[in-house]
Symmetry: C2
Subunit: 433 residues, 2 copies
């Protein structure tokens, strides 16, 4: 290529990153200084701090406290273009991604970091009755349903129907399920009682159903036991070794028995985004791309896939978990590999996941942390959990804002984001047919 000045220039290397979650954003951050033009595509305009999404769903935080406009995060990086667009496919021959509007975007290197959606194990018809928690809209939907259930109970005179409005079922006892159950129980027992006249919100049932033998299966067994005790002290009913066999507007069927509930939340399973289908490469049972040890797609050294959308093992052969730190480590690694290729340096060895620890909050002054080498619980774990989450938020403003929100929740039992928003028609699941 010959530029206006007559100098021969080579075209800049084009990197396309799909998905601005923890993995995709970290890739772009770490590509700073690379001699390449980068395009970051996401179908949302914001990066979301998913570990605190359950706090939006439970009226503790505002949406804007855990979400940032992607293009603003990259405003100083003039070689990065941010695109609000939905990717519909990848043409690996022509090396371009296809966008929903019919246009295409060519790449020299492609990084797929497209994440997961919640999945219903072949029962997608449950979704209207048991929303999952992955997006801001999911969170405001769940918030609306929880708050509306208390409102309906306040007006309901029939004791059975009132009880169904005051029964909250959470399916799946991983960190999200545990955190939701604990927070809903705290709302019912601490935040809401003074505000209602006809109901005692402390009579609300919060039922956490888990198909496996313990809550927080990813943590050490004694921490699981502590978490279960803590949940029970908060008033949560923990049901283990029971799978849900049906979800409807009337409640769930669990262990053959009907549990009447108007509010079901799904925290049980995820399925990877369709990246593997775009590529036509082997995928695992959860729809994840099986990548090589350098996180490239088999047969396509120019295509990387990272984060929740891939299946990869750590050096000990254990699967890398689908958590934010893992996605960030992968993003960092991929940026290293790409920079090494561009500069002609020696590529780093295979990706090695380092597990820093697992954290989950159960309630006020109750949390568990499993660092592997040390296990923490109770107050000390809760403080570390809080400080770590504030640390990992982006920007002083949001840190300050979340800290103030938490101060009000934990010293004054006030949850500031108790808003029922969006159309009334959407407030409640409709009975089918």
């Amino acid at each position: 290529m010959v530029s206006n000045s007559g100098k021969v220039t080579t075209p800049r290397h084009r990197i396309v990153v799909v998905g601005a979650g923890f993995g995709g954003l970290e890739t772009v951050y770490r590509l700073a200084g690379a001699s390449a033009d980068i395009t970051l595509i996401d179908r949302r305009n914001h990066h979301l701090f998913q570990p605190l999404l359950y706090q939006v769903a439970t009226a503790s935080l505002a949406t804007s406290e855990i979400a940032w406009p992607i293009r603003h995060l990259l405003s100083s990086r003039k070689e990065v273009t941010t695109l609000l667009a939905t990717v519909t496919g990848v043409n690996t021959e022509a090396r371009h991604v296809a966008l929903e509007d019919g246009s295409t975007l060519p790449y020299d290197t492609l990084v797929l970091a497209t994440g997961v959606r919640h999945a219903y194990f072949g029962h997608d018809e449950w979704e209207p009755f048991a929303p999952g928690l992955k997006t801001l809209e999911d969170a405001t939907t769940i918030r609306r349903r929880i708050l509306y259930a208390f409102e309906r109970a306040e007006r309901e005179s029939d004791p059975q129907r009132r009880a169904a409005y005051l029964t909250f079922v959470i399916v799946g006892a991983g960190p999200t399920g545990v955190e939701l159950a604990g927070t809903i129980a705290e709302m019912a027992h601490v935040t809401l009682p003074p505000d209602f006249r006809n109901i005692d919100t402390r009579t609300a049932r919060v039922v956490l159903i888990e198909a496996g033998p313990r809550v927080l299966a990813g943590f050490a067994e004694d921490l699981s036991a502590y978490a279960q005790r803590s949940l029970e002290e908060l008033g949560v009913e923990v049901v283990l070794n029971q799978a849900v066999s049906d979800c409807s507007a009337d409640g769930v069927i669990c262990g053959g028995k009907q549990l009447a509930s108007r509010t079901i939340i799904w925290a049980a399973g995820v399925r990877a985004s369709p990246a593997a289908e775009w590529l036509g490469v082997p995928l695992d049972r959860a729809g994840r791309v099986i990548v090589t040890p350098d996180l490239t797609v088999p047969g396509h050294p120019e295509i990387f896939a990272i984060g929740d959308t891939v299946s990869v093992n750590d050096p000990e052969g254990k699967p890398v978990p689908g958590i934010a730190p893992a996605a960030k480590q992968q993003g960092r690694y991929v940026a290293q590999v790409i920079k090494a290729r561009l500069s002609g340096d020696k590529a780093p060895g295979p990706f090695q996941y380092k597990h820093d620890g697992s954290l989950a909050q159960i309630g006020k002054r109750r949390a568990v942390i499993d660092f592997g080498w040390i296990k923490l619980r109770g107050s000390i774990a809760w403080w570390i959990w809080g400080i770590a989450h504030i640390y990992f938020l982006i920007g002083v403003r949001n840190r300050l804002s979340v800290a103030i929100s938490w101060l009000w929740i934990y010293t004054r039992d006030q949850r500031s984001a108790r808003l029922i928003t969006q159309g009334r028609g959407a407030m409640e699941p409709k009975k089918p047919g």
Copy 2:
């Protein structure tokens, strides 16, 4: 009535207040100590600080910073029951209000404070293309459209279509229209330029269209002139003496000319809620109930109507404006009248509106305040505007939170709530047919 202890008791007086805006909420606050059972009905679960709603629409504040759960505001008032319900009518004979679910609620005294919606002067078909600003959903809809227009412009290669995405039309130059226009111009000129690559957001056109001869018609003429100059300095095109004759997905027709725009905001007119229709009493052109000097409905001394939903004159014969302080004064007055009746004291004289002043913010360090006896503009007015608004927010937490948000906006040009949320289908107005 004979109670369990054998003592003869009279049934408590039942007061029903419909609407928890500034008027209804103030009525309930000021009824504290009255010997009555009070029910406050609203179809939303939150009280909204409408004067700052335009800041949610322009990504400056989060929804939860200007909205509070109604029942929480009244949690200490055990004689007050809060009901999330939609009123569909009033039976003045039987003295009950009818609710959407078919139930009825009896009253001895009724206070209607049901507010207004934006109105299109007989052109309701314009609403999908020109949303108005009255609810939190209206605000997030407008926010989504503004932000999405910049995103679409960034991807658009056709110069005409790009220009249409970068043209923002605000219809109506009252305080809301002026504040929206000024803030959108600031976003385009100050907040957004570093974040985009393909467009210069400073080329965006912000057009404020007013059918009357000046902006802020409720203010003194020199303040109107100052506001117009300030808007023009911010880059707003002010079009006066021109009515909009059509709104569509393509833009507006104004003064016979088509102005291509993908984002139209309606700030031109309101119509009262159907309270007058429920009562079958005379209403004015804007659908407002014409009340007696003690704010009761003619022929019904037991029914009060206040706030935006009524038409009433001040002692000088001028109509009381539809602003928050007027609604609050009316709520205070009505509570006085009801308490005097209940206690057998002498009722106060007719309602006398006292105009404290008019405020409008135009942009950073630009505002106008018309106290009548003194007129302020510029920096000093802006500081008073800010302090007054923070003062009138409810609770320390929200004051702190809004103060921090404004600190970031005015010192760092960051607007934290730049979130495009809700289904993609709702992002853009559809072309009809």
